[in-house]
């Protein structure tokens, strides 16, 4: 749908816009991480911000994730609203204590007497042969651990609204953006992520899924780039007269279980698409959400189209073999039919 006076942004631009608007609105908001000031972020999400806000508020850090993420926790508890960037989510290995033992637990440990209003933004995903230390999603790892909200936008509208909501939230929010959706030319561009984005500030509620496409025959649940695979699969299925409903989770924590259940109650079939490793992950959680509630709705066993349980290989043929895509979703639907 095109709108009048439409202004399309990439996710990178919309993230930068949300950060800028919140920094203008609230001087407690500041951003820190690697390569954010002069470079404007490896994925463009702080481009131009150092010019407007200076390097006190757009801070380049040493390569010291434990220190600056831990520092964000302390600053947040002391009344600031830091946004920190972990350049690739894969790097959580060097700093996870600050994330899951401090950021995620201090509100609870204090019995709610402290707030930790911080955002941890981090890039996810592969598809461009960056191998297994620079291509993971690990959504499930973050969503599994209580105490942090987790969001993952699939388009620029949601990216801006979720960032604004995350900054205004008094709890820590992990903001996972997929590299393949950023709209950085050098990583390829998913056109579907570049959508109308209002200039004024607005929020997208954390914990609310969106119906990206309405349908009656099968529910395809996904997040981030998987939503675009699902939409493409839905087009192919529609050629054969099958109307797929695509649910864009947008938030993993809290998870909008009602929207998932309502959709499956209507369609009777469920496919979950997830670029994270298949076992113990988002796909399993979505399926459990449905089946532990009501199984008589289901006309066939649910399916997951997820990353196999192997580290991510470099060689393109191997990586592409492992990644979810529209054809695999269509094939999964066919299997549902014969099941």
């Amino acid at each position: 749908m095109t709108q009048s006076n439409e202004r399309k942004l990439t996710i990178a631009r919309s993230m930068a816009e949300a950060l800028a608007q919140e920094m203008r609105r609230d001087e407690k908001v500041f951003v820190m991480g690697e390569d954010l000031a002069a470079l404007g972020g490896v994925y463009g999400n702080t481009r131009g911000l150092a010019d407007e806000f200076g390097t006190d508020r757009i801070r380049d850090t040493p390569i010291s994730e434990t220190a600056f993420i831990g520092a964000a926790v302390g600053a947040a508890m002391d009344g600031m609203r830091p946004v920190v960037e972990l350049m690739f989510v894969d790097f959580f290995g060097v700093c996870f204590d600050a994330i899951y033992n401090l950021m995620a637990k201090n509100i609870y440990f204090s019995g709610g007497s402290v707030k930790v209003p911080m955002v941890l933004m981090t890039s996810t995903g592969g598809g461009y042969s960056d191998a297994g230390q620079h291509s993971q999603c690990v959504y499930g790892t973050f969503a599994h651990l209580p105490g942090m909200k987790v969001v993952a936008p699939s388009n620029a509208y949601d990216a801006k609204g979720l960032m604004t909501a995350a900054i205004r939230d008094d709890s820590p929010v992990v903001y996972m953006y997929h590299k393949g959706l950023q709209g950085m030319g050098w990583l390829g561009t998913e056109e579907g992520a570049i959508v109308h984005t209002p200039e004024e500030d607005y929020t997208v509620p954390i914990g609310k899924a969106a119906i990206a496409r309405k349908g009656t025959d099968v529910t395809i649940v996904s997040l981030g780039i998987g939503v675009h695979h699902a939409l493409r699969a839905a087009e192919t299925l529609a050629e054969g007269g099958v109307e797929a409903e695509v649910v864009d989770l947008r938030s993993l924590v809290p998870l909008d279980r009602d929207t998932i259940r309502e959709s499956v109650a209507k369609t009777g079939r469920l496919i979950v698409v997830d670029e994270d490793y298949s076992s113990y992950g988002v796909a399993a959680e979505v399926i459990a959400t449905v089946v532990e509630n009501e199984i008589t709705n289901l006309k066939a066993p649910p399916k997951r189209v997820a990353y196999p349980d192997v580290p991510i290989p470099f060689a393109r043929v191997m990586e592409q073999f492992c990644l979810p895509n529209a054809q695999k979703i269509v094939a999964a639907y066919k299997e549902l039919q014969t099941a």
């Binding site: 390569d35 002069a38 390569i63 220190a67 461009y128 960056d130 050098w186 580290p311 191997m318 492992c322």
Partner: protein
């Protein structure tokens, strides 16, 4: 400690091989990436971090190492791999993502593993430190010879793994050397903006080990200091911390426009190119003739050509090979 004539020629040859290799990789990297630069495309997809300019560090250190000694490298590993004797053909094939590559295409350029010469890599900053110290510990426990060298960038000294490993190696007196390649930049952030001390050799005091800073990207000086450190380690006297001033002639990775560099910073950098400089010195010192060096260059080029041809002609892995070799 001064290099012998043979060692000098070995060092020169490996610097040239590394440079020619990376020139070939750089050219091929853009195949399939023009007019629109998309990292996912081309003969060699993914990130590509070149080490042009940093070759003296690799050869000055590795000239003292034997096959049994251990090296851990970073996301910028080619010069070190070549100097450590990693199989060039299989490394090229790995960088192309081919079946014949060192890891059958699973690792790519940031994950070069060649157990035959005890070489390993990690793309996570600072994470070569622990494994190098652990390999050193293993040799001590097994009463086997061998020293371990962790090469890291100057940006990595601000990681916890750097401090933790330096202290561990020092208290256990491990045969371990940390070599910091100071190219002044960690992507777009300068050493000055990110590191509290001007030179990291002063940090050695915190671990009670010898520390050295080597100026001028000079292979002769690097040879000298590294030789002392490695001899100390072999004698059971414990670790050494060495930082070497070097230059990154290229961007952080290919496709980096380097807009963050102050204007003029790269002026003169190419005149300081260590390879022509070493060539001139070899001749001036009477260690080699023009003809002998020409011959080395021809030989290096031929080795590189052969490796690249091998990589090009090799088959892609089977897609489903992705599912194998997860466990031993």
């Amino acid at each position: 400690m001064s290099p012998s004539r043979d060692e000098l020629l070995w060092m020169y040859e490996n610097m040239v091989t590394s440079r020619r290799f990376e020139e070939a990789i750089a050219k091929i990297y853009f195949e399939g990436k023009t007019p629109v630069f998309n990292m996912a495309n081309g003969t060699i997809p993914g990130e590509m971090h070149l080490s042009d300019g940093q070759e003296p560090v690799a050869v000055g250190v590795c000239a003292h190492l034997k096959e049994e000694d251990i090296v851990t490298a970073t996301h910028r590993p080619h010069h070190q791999a070549i100097a450590k004797g990693v199989d060039l053909k299989r490394m090229a094939a790995e960088i192309f993502g081919k079946k014949t590559g060192l890891s059958g295409g699973r690792g790519g350029h940031m994950h070069i593993f060649d157990p035959d010469v005890n070489f390993a890599c990690s793309g996570i900053i600072g994470q070569g430190m622990g494994p190098a110290a652990g390999a050193a510990l293993s040799r001590v426990l097994q009463k086997k010879p061998g020293v371990a060298v962790a090469f890291i960038g100057e940006g990595a000294v601000n990681q916890g793994a750097f401090h933790e490993t330096m202290n561990l190696a020092a208290v256990w007196k491990l045969p371990f050397i940390c070599v910091i390649e100071d190219n002044a930049w960690g992507i777009s952030v300068s050493k000055r903006e990110s590191t509290a001390v001007e030179r990291n050799d002063v940090r050695a005091a915190a671990y009670g080990v010898p520390g050295h800073y080597i100026e001028g990207n000079d292979p002769y000086k690097i040879y000298d200091i590294a030789g002392e450190a490695i001899a100390r380690a072999r004698a059971g006297e414990g670790p050494t911390l060495i930082e070497v001033e070097t230059y990154r002639l290229a961007g952080h990775f290919m496709g980096d426009a380097e807009g963050y560099r102050p204007e003029g910073e790269k002026d003169g950098l190419f005149e300081a190119d260590p390879i022509p400089k070493m060539r001139a010195r070899l001749i001036a010192d009477g260690d080699a003739t023009e003809a002998a060096l020409d011959e080395i260059e021809t030989k290096s080029q031929a080795r590189v050509d052969e490796a690249i041809a091998f990589a090009r002609e090799s088959d892609d892995p089977a897609p489903e090979d992705a599912l194998t070799s997860v466990f031993a």
